[in-house]
């Protein structure tokens, strides 16, 4: 199922990585931010929304990163290059990520920066939308986001262009060790 998810997600231009441990995943993210020149200057910030991954992570490692913020508002997110959030499920047949995005921070970091890194517990990959229905009760989940690849448009002459209003890159980081709801 993971393989199907990966194929479908890559099919819509998402980048997919998989790690066994949280430490490996964290190292990847730190390196990624370095590559993207995350720093304490406007348009180069990184913003990371509260999530289980972060709670379990080695705080020392992340607090060292210059320009990485956990305290999020729209101005900061708008000036961020990288936004990081954890998602709750994935759907294999369409390569889709699903997130309970009731907390506004999760939406700010996944909509405003040009790159969104989505952390996904590997065990949370489900076959399809029908199998996801029982995982959620919309009545107490005010805002659910499904994300399938980066933001795209074809509104000018039907030419596919990536990155309109949302991120132009979607980087999915699957973590085996990360316990999910499933």
């Amino acid at each position: 199922m993971y393989d199907q998810f990966r194929t479908k997600a890559e099919g819509v231009s998402a980048e997919v990585h998989r790690f066994q441990t949280q430490t490996e995943a964290m190292d990847f993210i730190l390196e990624f931010m370095k590559q993207e020149n995350v720093s304490d200057t406007p348009n180069q910030y990184a913003v990371w929304a509260q999530c289980p991954f972060l709670e379990q992570a080695d705080k020392g490692k992340v607090s060292d990163v210059n320009g990485l913020y956990f305290d999020i508002n729209r101005e900061r997110a708008n000036q961020a290059r990288v936004g990081i959030s954890q998602v709750d499920w994935a759907l294999a047949d369409t390569g889709t990520l699903v997130q309970d995005a009731s907390a506004i921070d999760k939406r700010l970091v996944s909509t405003l920066p040009s790159i969104h890194i989505a952390l996904l517990p590997s065990s949370a990959v489900l076959p399809d939308m029908a199998s996801w229905l029982s995982c959620v009760n919309p009545k107490n989940t005010g805002y659910i986001s499904m994300i399938t690849g980066p933001s795209r448009t074809a509104d000018i002459e039907r030419v596919l262009t990536i990155g309109v209003h949302g991120p132009e890159r979607l980087v999915i980081v699957c973590v085996d060790e990360l316990g999910g709801d499933n």
């Binding site: 479908k8 819509v12 508002n73 729209r74 101005e75 708008n78 047949d93 369409t94 390569g95 889709t96 009731s102 907390a103 506004i104 939406r107 700010l108 909509t111 405003l112 939308m129 029908a130 229905l133 009760n137 919309p138 009545k139 989940t141 005010g142 805002y143 659910i144 986001s145 499904m146 994300i147 399938t148 690849g149 980066p150 933001s151 795209r152 448009t153 074809a154 509104d155 000018i156 002459e157 039907r158 030419v159 262009t161 990155g163 309109v164 209003h165 949302g166 991120p167």
Partner: protein
């Protein structure tokens, strides 16, 4: 027809950008859509959607109430109204109470429908569309031409001009750069806006949720950044349960843009906190605007099953030629015609309903399983009922129904036109057929109609009988097709009976909305064709006629309440069979044998709309021709309409002509010297087109070809 309307068609057809963009798109769309649906049982999927949406339409009051209760329990304010003006006033009131200066909008057809933007702008509120296509349209001061791709009619050069003006900087037509500019410009607006207005693609009663699909991500920003969010939702978007979103979300992106899923699907089920901790001010407007009325109409309730995917536009041969603007300002294409008739008024659809050539291509792909051409016919019928048929048409129908008079008039016209006759064609026809000769030569009217030819044919006396229904074209223009059919059936041991009293099948009247005339035709034909009670079959070699005999007589009686005639109509339908299906059957049964070892060379086949889509008989003629020894070379878009459409080519000759040109090109590109088809109407259109073109490609009815290929015993 209004002059203005004719002019808009003319303008559209001559707009190379438009026809080029739409043409290219519709070609790619077919391939991509098929790919997106790979491994999915489309028929099963759309049956589920039709059932779920049909259920919702039948229980719309109940679902509105449940939705309101559940959404309000989650902190939304729900406002329900029948009146578009009340929707505008409500939004304005919320805006005023909260001192709103700027609004950002994500795509919403419902707000287009009620012309919300100009209304708010007049009140001094700045309204910004944020969907890229909608924003382009807004900058251009135009209306959307397509439900999913609003700016498809504009080129990148036009877009770069618009953007250059907006940001006061000369831009090139580099698309990625233009998209970047849009991102930057609109980002500021998002961050500043006091209110967000969105539509919704689905509203779930059970949970009080609204579901919004986008690719750009603008709806996520519209619903997240401003402190106030108003969603304007047409009540046809309601479904009963949360699980109903699954089939809709499976079909909508695939049908709309050939994607497995759009980049974003947003489900909002209540208030969520804003950045500083306050709760979102969330309003949901349930808008009726005649939808309840539509839902309780026995025929039009089907239109409530629409999920607004616009695939009916993408496959429509007329839409791809004229684009959206000819159809009007809000909803376009086939379904747009229907929605305009309701949400605006019946009269607004008077001209645009005539654009539909009834080819049925849209009906095949509609994920809501809506009989779009059928509903357009119903608009026609109701318009005619209200306004009567124009005098000219009335006199045409009177003539058409008097067979001998009709023939002698046509014949007189064709003889009168003699100086212009060349070979088998007449160049000019006086009378009402005059317009038909534009771009296409008409067949010379046969000196003797088939009804007279038939009397001279010597048939052996055979035990099995079949009734032959000729229809206008075989009777008057192509009697040789009739002769070929008699010959074939005789060889199979079937004697042909030709009831003298058979008359026009009523299709011309029906397609013009004159159902009373069509019903009279049906009655006369039923009586004539069932008289020979021992006949096994009623055979027709014109798919339009076959569909009339097989389906439409029944429907016509039902729509005008003459249900007492239905059983006889069904009796006729049970006996009716089209030429190729019957002959294929006779060959399979060994009652007819094709000559063996023939190498007849290349042939290509044109699918007539009614034969393929209503009668589903696209394979028998191909199998027969291949078996006879032809080498089938399929043409591009073999099942796209030829532009004939009965009297359509008479009323909208420019459109018909353009569609024909395309068809001729596709035929020529196969390199085959011969094209076969099963419809005398298509023969008339395509043969005439080839003749005007000076091409020597032969255009034949399958019957004419098969008659020559049978063994004598």
């Amino acid at each position: 027809m209004q002059q203005e309307f004719k002019q808009s068609i003319d303008k559209a057809i001559h707009n190379k950008n438009l026809t080029g963009a739409l043409g290219k798109f519709s070609e790619a769309y077919k391939v991509n859509r098929a790919k997106a649906y790979e491994g999915i049982d489309f028929e099963a999927l759309r049956s589920t959607i039709a059932e779920r949406k049909g259920y919702a339409a039948a229980h719309v009051d109940e679902l509105c109430a449940t939705f309101k209760k559940n959404a309000e329990a989650n902190g939304a304010k729900v406002f329900q109204t029948k009146d578009p003006a009340a929707v505008r006033d409500y939004i304005l009131q919320v805006a005023k109470e909260n001192n709103v200066k700027t609004v950002v909008k994500s795509k919403s057809m419902a707000t287009e429908e009620i012309h919300l933007n100009p209304f708010l702008e007049k009140e001094g509120i700045d309204v910004g569309e944020t969907d890229l296509g909608e924003w382009i349209i807004q900058l251009a001061g135009q209306t959307p031409s397509h439900m999913v791709m609003p700016a498809i009619h504009l080129t990148k050069e036009e877009v770069s001009d618009l953007f250059s003006k907006e940001i006061d900087e000369r831009l090139t037509s580099d698309i990625p750069r233009l998209v970047k500019v849009a991102r930057e410009q609109l980002r500021e607006k998002f961050l500043q806006a006091d209110m967000g207005i969105s539509g919704a693609n689905i509203a779930v009663a059970e949970t009080g949720s609204i579901v919004i699909v986008t690719n750009e991500g603008n709806a996520r920003l519209v619903t997240s950044l401003p402190k106030i969010h108003i969603a304007v939702v047409g009540i046809e978007k309601l479904v009963e349960s949360f699980s109903d979103i699954v089939p809709i979300l499976r079909a909508l992106p695939r049908s709309a843009t050939a994607q497995l899923l759009t980049s974003y699907v947003t489900m909002i089920s209540g208030q969520t906190p804003n950045e500083e901790g306050s709760m979102k001010n969330l309003h949901i407007v349930l808008m009726d605007n005649r939808r309840t009325e539509m839902a309780s109409d026995p025929v039009f309730k089907e239109a409530m099953q629409c999920i607004r995917c616009a695939s009916c536009l993408n496959v429509c041969p007329i839409f791809r030629l004229v684009g959206g603007h000819v159809f009007g300002k809000v909803y376009t294409g086939g379904i747009g015609t229907i929605l305009t008739a309701w949400y605006d008024e019946m009269k607004s659809s008077e001209d645009i309903q005539g654009l539909c050539i009834q080819c049925g291509a849209c009906k095949d792909v509609c994920p809501g399983k809506i009989d779009i051409p059928g509903l357009i016919m119903e608009i026609r019928r109701r318009l005619v009922k209200e306004q009567g048929i124009p005098m000219l048409q009335k006199s045409i129908f009177a003539v058409v129904n008097n067979r001998r008079l009709f023939h002698s008039m046509l014949r007189a016209a064709s003889v009168a036109g003699k100086p212009f006759t060349k070979g088998k064609f007449i160049r000019h026809l006086p009378l009402f057929l005059a317009d038909l000769t534009d771009g296409r030569s008409l067949p010379a009217i046969a000196p003797k109609p088939f009804r007279d030819v038939f009397q001279k044919i010597k048939q052996p006396s055979l035990p099995e009988k079949a009734v032959f229904y000729a229809g206008c074209l075989i009777d008057f223009a192509y009697p040789e097709m009739g002769t070929a059919i008699v010959e074939i059936l005789n060889k199979a041991g079937i004697e042909v009976v030709f009831p003298e009293k058979q008359t026009c099948c009523g299709a011309p009247a029906r397609y013009n909305g004159a159902y009373e005339v069509a019903a009279k035709n049906a009655e006369d034909n039923i009586e004539a064709l069932l008289e020979q009670s021992d006949a096994t079959y009623v055979i027709s070699a014109c798919p339009t006629c076959t569909v009339a005999l097989d389906h439409e007589f029944i429907q016509t009686f039902e729509s005008i309440g003459k249900t007492e005639n239905v059983p006889r109509a069904k009796e006729l339908a049970a006996k009716t069979i089209d030429f190729s299906t019957l002959v294929k059957k006779l060959v399979d049964e060994g009652r007819l044998t094709l000559k063996e070892g023939q190498q007849l060379g290349k042939i290509t086949y044109h699918d007539s709309c009614h034969l393929k889509r209503t009668l589903k008989a696209d394979q028998p003629p191909r199998e027969l021709l291949t078996k006879a020894g032809y080498e089938m070379e399929e043409m591009f878009e073999c099942d796209t309409c030829c532009g004939m459409g009965g009297s359509y080519s008479l009323k909208l000759p420019e459109i018909s002509g353009s569609i024909l040109t395309r068809k001729l090109t596709n035929i020529k590109n196969t390199g085959a010297p011969l094209v076969a088809m099963d419809c005398p109407g298509c023969v008339m259109q395509i043969r005439g087109g080839m003749d005007q073109d000076g091409s020597d490609i032969a255009v034949c009815h399958t019957a004419e070809l098969i008659a020559k290929r049978l063994k004598d015993d």
